[in-house]
Symmetry: C2
Subunit: 345 residues, 2 copies
C-alpha cells in the first residue's frame, strides 16, 4: 500500500519550514520589516477601484514590466515579475545549476529553497562585525555555480562595498544580488548590468513601497537570463491587485521617497536609543540587528513581547559571538513604543 516517505524525494523529509515573524492581534509587530507608514493612499484607492475585477486572470504583466523598467532605468525585457521576490529566488534556483553559495548570516530563504529543490547550499561567513568578507566568499567559489548576495544584508543590515561586489561578479558565475532593501541604502547595482551579464538584481515592492501583503517582487537581468526565468515561471504568478498597486505606486514615487526618508531618520534615532543599552549593528535597511549579550536574546524577546512589542529573535549565529534580536524601524510612534519597552528589558 501507500508509503508516503518512499513517495517523497529523499531530501524532503528532513526539511524544516520557514518560520515567519510572529503576528498577534493587538501587539505591535516589528518583526518582518514591513513599512509602518503603509502604501500610498493613491495605491489603496487604485486597489479599491480594481476590486471589482478580481474574477479576471492577471493580464498586465507587460504594462507592469514597462513601468518598473522606467523606475529602474532599464528595458522591460530585463524585468521578470514574481509573487514576491521570494518566488524569484525559487525560479533562480529552479533554472540555474547548484550548488548555491550564500553568506552567513543572511536571509534564510536561499538555504531553504536550495534544500527544497535538492541543491547543495554552501555558505561563507561574514567577518566578526558582519561586514562582507570577500576573501572568505571567494574561497568557496569552486564549490558553487550560483552565487547569492544580499545587499544590504538581511538580518545584519550591513552593505557590500562596490569593489567587493565587482570582484565577485568578475568570477563570471550567475550572481544574484538581493536588493530588497535597496531604497533604504541610496545605492543599487543596476548600473553594473551594462558590464556584467551574469548579474541578477532582485527588488521588491514589499518594503519601501509598503506592499508586503500583495506580494510583488522583480528581477533585473540580461534579457537572456530574463527569458530563462520566464521559462520556469508560472503563468499567473502575480495577482491582479498587486499589478494595479504596483502601477499606482510607481505613479506616486514621491510618497515612497518621503516614507523612506522618514524611516532613515528614525533609524538613526533608534540606533542611538538601542546603543544606550545594547550593541546595535549599523544598518542600511529598515531594521536594526542588536546584540543583547550577556543577556539571552530569548529572554529579552519575551520581555518585549510582554510589553506588547514583537521583534525577531535570532539568538546566537553559529560561529559568531553575541545574542541577537532584530527590530524593524517603524513609524515614529511605533519606535517610541519599542524604545519604552526596551527600557524595561
Amino acid at each position: 500500500m501507500f508509503e508516503l516517505e518512499e513517495s517523497l524525494k529523499p531530501w524532503v523529509k528532513g526539511l524544516k519550514p520557514y518560520v515567519p515573524g510572529e503576528m498577534v492581534e493587538g501587539k505591535l509587530k516589528l518583526a518582518s520589516n514591513e513599512n509602518g507608514y503603509g502604501a500610498s493612499p493613491k495605491v489603496v484607492e487604485r486597489v479599491r477601484e480594481a476590486a471589482s475585477r478580481i474574477h479576471v486572470y492577471p493580464y498586465k504583466d507587460a504594462v507592469v514590466q514597462r513601468k518598473i523598467a522606467q523606475y529602474t532605468g532599464v528595458d522591460a525585457k530585463n524585468i521578470v515579475l514574481g509573487n514576491g521576490s521570494d518566488e524569484l529566488i525559487t525560479l533562480l534556483i529552479t533554472a540555474f545549476r547548484g550548488p548555491v553559495l550564500g553568506q552567513h548570516p543572511s536571509f534564510a530563504e536561499y538555504r531553504l529553497v536550495s534544500q527544497i529543490l535538492g541543491q547543495e547550499y554552501v555558505e561563507a561567513p561574514l567577518d566578526a562585525g558582519f561586514s562582507f568578507n570577500v576573501e572568505a566568499y571567494l574561497e568557496k567559489k569552486k564549490e558553487a555555480n550560483l552565487f547569492f548576495l544580499c545587499n544590504p544584508n538581511n538580518p545584519t543590515g550591513t552593505k557590500i562595498k562596490r569593489k567587493d561586489l565587482i570582484r565577485v561578479l568578475n568570477e563570471g558565475k550567475p550572481t544574484v544580488v538581493d536588493e530588497a532593501y535597496a531604497e533604504f541604502m541610496n545605492q543599487d547595482s543596476v548600473e553594473l548590468l551594462a558590464s556584467y551579464d551574469n548579474l541578477i538584481v532582485l527588488r521588491t515592492f514589499a518594503k519601501s513601497f509598503g506592499l508586503a501583503g500583495l506580494r510583488l517582487g522583480y528581477s533585473i537581468s540580461s534579457p537572456e537570463i530574463a527569458d530563462a526565468l520566464k521559462k520556469v515561471k508560472p503563468p499567473f504568478n502575480v495577482n491582479v491587485l498587486a499589478q494595479e498597486a504596483a502601477l499606482a505606486a510607481l505613479d506616486d514615487i514621491e510618497y515612497m521617497r518621503q516614507s523612506v526618508s522618514e524611516i532613515k531618520k528614525q533609524r538613526q534615532t533608534l540606533f542611538m536609543e538601542i546603543a544606550k543599552k545594547y550593541r546595535p549593528t549599523e544598518s542600511w535597511a529598515n531594521f536594526i540587528l542588536f546584540d543583547v549579550s550577556p543577556k539571552k536574546a530569548g529572554d529579552v524577546y519575551q520581555r518585549l513581547f510582554e510589553e506588547g512589542v514583537i521583534v525577531r529573535c535570532f539568538g546566537e549565529f553559529k560561529g559568531f559571538r553575541g545574542q541577537y534580536l532584530r527590530v524593524t524601524v517603524g513609524t515614529r510612534k511605533q519606535n517610541q513604543k519599542f524604545i519604552e519597552a526596551l527600557k524595561k528589558t
Copy 2:
C-alpha cells in the same frame, strides 16, 4: 567568462513557456474559464475594506484553512493553500518523486511543471470520445510514481467514473485529482480521503467563486501529505487580499451556488447552439470543447476574433481526429454574443 547555457540546468533551454488565453481590451474573452458573473459583492466589499492593510504580510493562513475545511467537510490540517492551484501542482511535483503520469489531452501545466522540475512526464490517451480510459492509464502505471487526473478534465470537460477513479487509487501511488471545476459537476472526491491516504484533491477559488485574479487554490489530503507540502511551500504565497476574499466568499456560498447554477443552465443552451453547427463534447465544467473539422480551428478562431470574441484554440490533439476550440460558458449576455459570432463562422 559567463556562459548562460552552461549555467542553466540542462533541460531548461528547451522549455516552452505556458501561453495564457489571449486578452485584448474591448473584446469578449471566453478563453480562460473565468466566471463572468464575477465575485460576490460581499467579497468585493471585503477586499475594499482590507485594501488599507496591504503593507502587512499575509497572516491568516490558519483562519482560511479552517474555513475551507468547513466548506469541504474535512479538518484544517488536511488543507494547504497555494497561489492558485497552479502553485500546488508545482509543490506536489517538488515534493514527490517522478515520473509523473497524466492523461492526454489534459491541463498543460502538469507536463510543463514536470519539465521545469526535470521530472519525466508520461501520458495515457483518453478514448476517442475523450472519456477516461482507465486501462490505458493503468498500462502506464509502472513508469510513474505520481499520478495526475483532472476531473472534470480540462480542456475536454469530461468526467471520470467513480469506479475508475477507485481503480487508480487502489494502485497506492500518490494520486492528484485536480477538481478545479468540481462545483460545476455536483460531485467531488473528498469523501474518498477517508479510505485513500494517497489521494490529493486540488480545488480553487478561481472558477466557481470568481476569484481568478486573486490567485487562491488549495489541496485536500491526509495531514501527512499536507505537512510534506508545507515543507516545500513558500511562507507568504497567498496574498492578504486573497485571504480576505476567500473568507468573505465562504460567508456567501449562496452567491456562488446561484452563479454556478446559472452557468450550468447556460452550458446546456450553449451546447445545443454549438451542436447546430459543430460537434461539442458534453461538459461537466464551465467550458465546452468543440470540433469544427473539416474547418481549421485557427480559421474559426480568427473569424470569432474578428467578431469580437476570444476563445481558446487547440487545433489538433495529437492522436485524435478533429479541430478543436474551447469556449468558456459566460453570462447569458456573453454567451449570446458568442452564439451570434459563431453563426458567422
